[in-house]
Amino acid sequence: MDNATTSGTVAHGHGHAHEHEHGHEELSFIWKYVFSQDHKVIGIQYAITGLLFLLFGFCLMMLMRWQLAYPGAPIPIIGGLLSQTNAPGGIMLPEFYNQLGAMHGTIMVFLGVVPLAVGGFGNFVMPLQIGAPDMAFPKINMMSYWVYFIGGVIMVGSFFLPAGAAQSGWTSYPPLAVITTPGLLGGQTWWLIGMVFLITSSLLGSLNFIVTIVQLRAKGLSWMRLPFFVWAQFVTSFLLLLAFPPLEAAGVLQLMDRLAGTSFFMPSGLVTGGKVLEVAGNGNPLLWQHLFWFLAHPEVYVLILPAMGIVGEIIANNTRKPLWGYRAMVYSVAFLGFMSFIVWAHHMFMTGMGTTMSAFFQTTTMIISIPSVVILTALLLSLWGASIRFTTPMLFALAFLPMFGIGGLTGLPLGLAPPDIHLHDTYYVIGHFHYVVAPGTIFALFAGIYHWFPKATGRKMNEMLGKIHFWGSFVCINIVFMPMFIQGLGGMNRRMYDGGMQYAHNAGLLKYNIVIGMAAWTLGLFQIPFIFNFFASIKWGALVDKNPWEATTLEWSAPSPPGHGNFVTEPIVYRGPYEYSVPGSLRDFTPQFESEKA
């Protein structure tokens, strides 16, 4: 980013990527890179913070996997570094395992994947793809990142509280979440406060995204000429805007329960430790679950839609063909967004909320699978008859298709109450949603990093290291999650800190934990080429010009990296987003920003 221009009016620039240019208002380091209002810098801040949180969340999981593979054995190498209250002699205590579990989920979803997918890619790519000079509200954009950052610090900092971090699961179900380590110094209190910050951040971000997409589209960029990625971000933003506030409300209510002694979620006559709990009572624990899942189901689509958007861009670019069924995909993504608000209680079949409720939510859940299948099918059919370029981003994007497919199809039995009651508390569920989010979404995010890295830095990432990263991750991640389906179908419970050794039916299933553990740690090793590649390519990667992938969308008409204000001349859009291999054309791509016969 050393040659990012800070020119007040980009029209003065010459657009060459490597020309150091001094604008009218040279900003000092802190305003240029720390408290920046430039969407690209904020996007990169989001992306790097998100990647660090993904790594941190993954480390928590590698610790848990040791405990599951070798219950009661001291953790090697780093076991001695853990505090005596968490792991005396390097042996993990159940309470610490629960903290790791709750924080793994929270960190991966709210601090890792969403900030990277929406805050990172959305911020960096979307304004470029619509030909905007920046986001509609640059100051709010900066605030969004820093509020997220504070939320993250609170979440991670909660590990250092006297009783440790939150340990009631990432879903924080009451009454357990209310009565565990009560008071101001309980990890759960800080989890809730952290969530309020994260929700505020996503509100600021999503509002900004919607206004930007509606208001700042370049001349000629009508709705049906928007790249699919922009559509995905648009719908995602609506989900964040409208689904997060109910969790904020729920968070406030749970804070009241924990700090002011109210009983919103506390039923009457609750007995803990042999004593009747002294609360007013008459509360409703199911209320939390409704409010939580009202957010958290749309949140699933917040995780997956940007990934679909990224995959769509990369597939069109590397098949050198238009996306198959672009319009159907757009309508599907909008319908998906709408439906995601009315499927939340399929997470609650186990709660005894009644058959009428179950019947309704089963039906909506089956309906929502249709648009997902439409999008996946369209992406798959886009490959038909193409001469595919197997670049690193394309490999990750291609892997997304079967991985998300497995995740989606294994979700169908969970959407129906009868099989769900058997499978719900087992490893089957863990396998299912990790297939959607880990080899699904995270692979798509890796694809996006390899794809847009040249735009952000002006250099390409190394292909060889990228392929090692891909194949290693692809093999390992399947060995991690595939056995979980077997364990889950065998009835292995997903919340036991020792895997459930005391149960006879687990006897033949526990051995898979060793396999999963090995694969998880190897998966960790295969991220090293990526980390090295990422930093080394910033300095030594092959230099590229504006459009190294020969792509058609607007971001490739800006310099690499684009200066503050993005475009050298105001872009005008002449055609749809994916005009690849147009018959009669001289080249196999006709960019949106080039007029007829340019």
């Binding site: 509609a136 640059p138 206004v211 700042l216 904020e248 729920a250 919103f264 409703n284």
Partner: protein
């Protein structure tokens, strides 16, 4: 670098950025209060008995009138700008601020009376939701007052530089203020009367 449509409207959408932004913000606020009202309904349905007439209805009614008046003065503050009457605008904006202040003072009397009687949020589910809803609403009132104070004080300088943008800011503040008022119009019957 200039962001387009910060002041003027985009022809094909008919909106300025801020106008769309404030409406989206209000949409998310509807979801926030919607969740809390749903909580109220669910708790009330599930409760064996629900207290009636626990709150000071006359005081609540006075507060309702105060907020409705403040919505009117807020519109006048905006309309005065449209008619280029700076003095009238200052008066109406100050009046809105003062009405909000009196609302909060009334509210604090109400809270204090409850606290003296030992009626804390932990006392019953009704009081819990009462304090949560009115407390959150009070924070929204306070937020509005801070914005008004800014637009009355340091923010007023914008009028000289860019009157159209300043008028827009007053309009967006007004939209927010009407929403806060509207929430109270629901809160008053739900908590005090029903």
């Amino acid at each position: 670098m200039n962001i387009p449509y910060t002041v003027e409207e985009r022809p094909d959408t008919g909106l300025a950025n801020g106008k769309l932004g404030i409406w989206l913000f209000l949409a998310s606020e509807v979801m926030l209060f919607g969740a809390l009202f749903s909580t109220y309904i669910l708790l009330r349905i599930g409760a064996p008995s629900w207290p009636h007439h626990e709150l000071n209805v006359p005081l609540g009614a006075v507060n309702t009138v105060l907020l409705i008046c403040s919505s009117v003065t807020m519109v006048m503050a905006w309309a005065s700008l449209k008619m280029n009457k700076w003095g009238a605008h200052r008066g109406y904006l100050a009046a809105t601020f003062l009405l909000a202040l009196v609302f909060l003072i009334n509210k604090s009397f109400e809270y204090a009376a409850h606290f003296r009687g030992g009626e804390y949020p932990s006392h019953s589910t009704f009081l819990a939701i009462y304090y949560t809803l009115t407390g959150l609403h009070g924070i929204h009132i306070l937020g509005g007052m801070i914005v008004m104070a800014y637009l009355f004080g340091p923010g007023a300088k914008l009028w000289k530089k860019n009157p159209e943008q300043f008028t827009n800011r007053i309009e967006y503040t007004g939209l927010y203020w009407h929403f806060v008022d509207l929430v109270w119009i629901f809160l008053f019957p739900v908590l005090y009367l029903l």
